[in-house]
Amino acid sequence: MARLANWLRLAVLAGAAALMAAPSLEAVAGADLPKLERGKAEKCVEDTQFMRRNHMDLLKHHRDETLRQGIRTTKHSLKKCVECHASEKTGSVAASKDDFCASCHSYAAVKLDCWDCHATKPGKKPVQQAGQPATSPLMASTPMEGKQ
């Protein structure tokens, strides 16, 4: 919890430093800030303040590079964010309202589009699931009829 206090103090400081204009949390420091589950994250790949304000740009930039050019660096990859920040309770970044992404975003009322498609939980075996040709347990049943 020391971390949380630390984090709050930082926020207050930043607020005092007149960052009012920025649409970030500092603007309302002191009000009830979101309690977020930070998961097992020790230290972010960037400075926290920087991340708070710029994570969306980093992610957007990275998404285009990865998808369109096949650049697969991990520093700013959403998958890596999820791996670190998934809550210890729910295992997810957006399953409950205290989870890492959900808490801030619901606080700031910014709708998230990521989780319609992206997994909110880290994979079981992040990279090395490739080995054997898996027969999916889902495939055991006979092919289903159409639903209509």
């Binding site: 589009d113 092919p143 159409g146 639903k147 209509q148």
Partner: protein
């Protein structure tokens, strides 16, 4: 906002006006409700699937868009070709065109898998895509026709109405060409890949647009207890007959040229002979009810009173019905027919290769499609009520015949 007929604000027949608006409003609301439901649950609720990817909403949407560009034709004949009778109808024609385009586009947008990304559709353009070009044409159509309406309705700008009308005319031709090409450019499917698609869409747009124009015009006249002048009626009926005849002709040529290419035989067999629903819609609704019957109705001499009925309401209504059937056969029939990946082979798979796709529209799709029609309807009703869209050529004469109201 200035004539003695019931077209001005809140003067007369307010009740009926409100009723019309109410009906239209309910239809629009139903459409919106369908949209929110689909947006939440996804397209599972529709009859559309991975074989028939465009369904009933697209039938209504494409019909409205095509008819929109056709409705503008009345104005073009007036401004570009200088026919005074049509000139008097130019404002109504332009307004109808805008209303229908709004309705059609609304359906297209609301049916997207990700309607929330409309901004993306407006900001990312792939200029190789005819679909993207269509979006540009649609937006341009609003601007140009809007400007055109302004020149028609504002005395000081009258001078400009001819050149702007001419641009509008060219623009609408390109727009329909582009709309037809959405289908014509699909090389993969037997039903679509044809250079005739675009010209056929243009001819059909003439017929559908004029038909809708005539229905609206007759309704407006009747609403005001007026009768459309004999001369006007005769000319419009002839024009409609020509357009419907030309559409029929194009339909024949389209299928005949298809028959000329052996690889298209199977598709033609499907549409013309054993496509079940599609064959029925083609022959009975599109060709017979929407083509042959209206032509007969338009030409068979009748006594004065029934004439009014047939010319100005029944015949164009049938043309509209036929037009919807044509869109259904083209859009859905064209997808239902299986793609032939392995010529000379019988094909089967878990993904419905080699079988005719099944499609049964659900109530949500009807709501969405009709909602677009409702939008066009409400826009028309409101516009007619608020502004001076009543054709004005023959008022002096007609005023005398005006029934008590």
């Amino acid at each position: 906002m200035s004539n003695d007929f019931c077209t001005d604000l809140g003067q007369c027949r307010t009740k009926q006006f409100m009723t019309l608006l109410g009906i239209g409003g309910v239809v629009v609301l139903a459409g919106l409700y369908a949209f929110f439901t689909l947006e939440h649950h996804g397209h599972v609720l529709t009859g559309m699937n991975n074989q028939i990817v465009w369904g009933l909403p697209h039938v209504f949407a494409v019909f409205l868009i095509v008819a929109a560009s056709g409705a503008l034709n009345v104005a073009s004949i007036g401004s570009v070709f200088g026919k005074p009778m049509y000139k008097a109808r130019a404002p109504l024609s332009g307004m109808l065109a805008l209303a229908m385009l709004v309705g059609g586009l609304a359906i297209l947008v609301l049916d997207l898998g990700r309607p929330d990304r409309l901004v993306v559709a407006m900001t990312y353009y792939n200029f190789k895509s005819i679909f993207a070009w269509n979006m540009i044409f649609y937006n341009g159509f609003f601007a140009i026709v809007g400007l055109y309406l302004l020149t028609l309705m504002d005395r000081r700008l009258k001078l400009w109405s001819k050149p702007v009308g001419f641009i509008a005319f060219l623009w609408r031709l390109s727009l329909t060409t582009a709309t037809g090409s959405i289908f014509g450019f699909i090389v993969a499917r037997s039903g679509y890949n044809s250079a005739l698609m675009a010209p056929m869409f243009i001819i059909m747009s003439f017929a559908y647009g004029l038909a809708i124009f005539m229905v609206v015009q007759s309704s407006m006249y009747r609403w005001n207890g007026l009768r459309l002048d004999e001369n006007v009626r005769r000319r419009m009926k002839n024009l409609l007959a020509v357009f419907v005849g030309a559409s029929l002709y194009f339909t024949i040529v389209f299928h005949l040229t298809n028959l000329y290419f052996a690889k298209q035989w199977d598709y033609e067999r499907f549409i013309l002979l054993d496509g079940g629903m599609y064959t029925f819609l083609f022959w009975v609704v599109q060709v017979f009810l929407g083509g042959i019957v209206p032509i007969i109705l338009l030409f068979v001499p009748r006594s004065k009173d029934t004439e009014a009925m047939c010319f100005c309401f029944l015949a164009p209504s049938l043309v509209i019905l036929g037009g919807l059937a044509q869109m259904y056969v083209t859009i859905i029939g064209g997808q239902a027919f299986p793609m032939n990946m392995f010529p000379g082979h019988q094909v089967s798979s878990s993904f419905y290769d080699g079988v005719v796709g099944t499609y049964a529209p659900t109530v949500w799709e009807w709501m969405l499609g009709l909602g677009g029609v409702g939008i066009a309807f409400v826009a028309t009703v409101v516009a007619v009520r608020m502004f001076k869209f009543m054709p004005q050529d023959d008022f002096t004469e007609l005023q005398m015949r005006r029934s008590t109201d």
